[in-house]
Amino acid sequence: MIKNKDICLPGDFLASIEEFFPGSGVYEMNGNVYASILGKIIYDLKERKVSVEPIKKPSIYLKRETTVIAKVEHVARNLAELKILYVEDTKTQTKLTAYLILKRKSSTLKDSNFLKPEDYLRARVLTTEGNIFVSIRGKNYGLIYADCPICGNPLHPLLKNKNVLVCNICNFKRRSKVSLLYIRTKS
């Protein structure tokens, strides 16, 4: 009898479709549910779902709602191109390209300084089908680190308005969407 947390290999029979729905890390074929990755079997008796928790996730195992840390590579009028550096706090070996849609209609985003190349963002994945699209909506998402484009020193959010970044050396100011997890450095 297969138990919860048992180790399974790709191709191992887990259940028939009448007993459990297929979750992540499994697939259904001819009415049977099989494992598709080396991992631990998880039977969800409430939802009647079987899934496999991978022991080793592939380097670009991205799902919807996954949190990523990305670096801005290029900013166009309505779109920013990012390189994903970390997936859920794990450094990725391969730098994936993701896109962030910039809604220019919003009055706060009209500023051309909203996003700059070399900025670091904390974002969540919206979709991985085709291109990877991310979003920075939410308190914890947005800029987490940016340098001053004039003097190169780190920018800091103002205490009064967290969405305004200021350089302590040259007083350069820019408005952006800043995460609550912005990295404060000593300057």
Binding site: G11, Y27, S36, I55, K56, P58, T94, L96
Partner: protein, 237 residues
């Protein structure tokens, strides 16, 4: 039927001693070493990673790229390190075999790169490569429908044999590499060189499938035995 004895004294349906190991290369995402008698193969898997040039990437699924290569000292006479016609063909054959086994839809616009190096060739190199790649893919955490196990079968002096050595391969009347997903009972690769009657073909298929099931068990045993080190490596218990 003539009295025929195999050069290494094996029974006709007996496999050569098999040794398999996983995670042999530190820098690859997944790697494996597979030995069938004197045939020694090492396989490395990189990816899924972004495909360049981007405009050629497939929007709905990942690509599989395979490079099968025999190193110059793997054969009796030194071989040029450049890819030969045979190596390019085998790369294509292995790529097509694994195309049916990898769940490619999970990683669109990406590529999975497989590099195979034959360290020592003594027949059945392509099936040893397939067995090695199967383990390396599991090591890399790639989503698969099943493990792939492969074996070569053939006919020599009117005898049907399993797991041909280099000499047997050269003197055989027919040889047939088979690769399949044993749990799902699906054949991924079936090639044939030479001539066989329908009855011989059916018998060879039966012998091949039996041998594949033995290799499948060895592969599963290898994964289970290397699990402890893998769990330690990824901080799980």
């Amino acid at each position: 039927m003539s009295q025929f004895k195999r050069s290494d004294g094996r029974a006709n349906d007996e496999l050569r001693p098999i040794k398999a190991e996983m995670h042999v290369l530190k820098n690859a995402d997944g790697s494996a070493y597979f030995e069938m008698g004197n045939t020694k193969v090492i396989a490395a898997v990189y990816g899924p990673r972004e495909y360049y040039p981007k405009q050629l990437a497939l929007p709905q699924e990942s690509m599989v790229r395979v490079r099968y290569h025999m190193i110059p000292f793997s054969v009796k006479e030194r071989k040029s390190p450049a890819l030969t016609r045979r190596e390019i063909e085998i790369s294509k054959v292995i790529k097509e075999a694994f195309g049916g086994c990898i769940k490619k839809d999970l990683f669109p616009r990406s590529t999975i790169d497989v590099y195979i190096e034959v360290l020592n060739a003594d027949g059945s190199t392509r099936v040893a490569s397939i067995n090695a790649v199967s383990l390396a893919l599991v090591d890399a955490g790639i989503f698969l429908y099943d493990l792939v196990a492969a074996v070569s079968v053939g006919k020599i002096h009117d005898q049907l044999i399993v797991d041909l050595t280099g000499d047997e391969d050269q003197n055989s009347e027919a040889d047939m590499p088979i690769a399949m997903m044993p749990s799902l009972n699906k054949i991924l690769l079936l090639q044939m060189d030479g001539t066989l009657t329908v009855e011989e073909f059916n018998n060879l298929m039966k012998m091949g499938i039996q041998a594949i099931k033995k290799i499948y068990e060895i592969q599963k045993e290898t994964i289970r035995s290397s699990l402890e080190s893998v769990l330690k490596m990824y901080g799980q218990t």
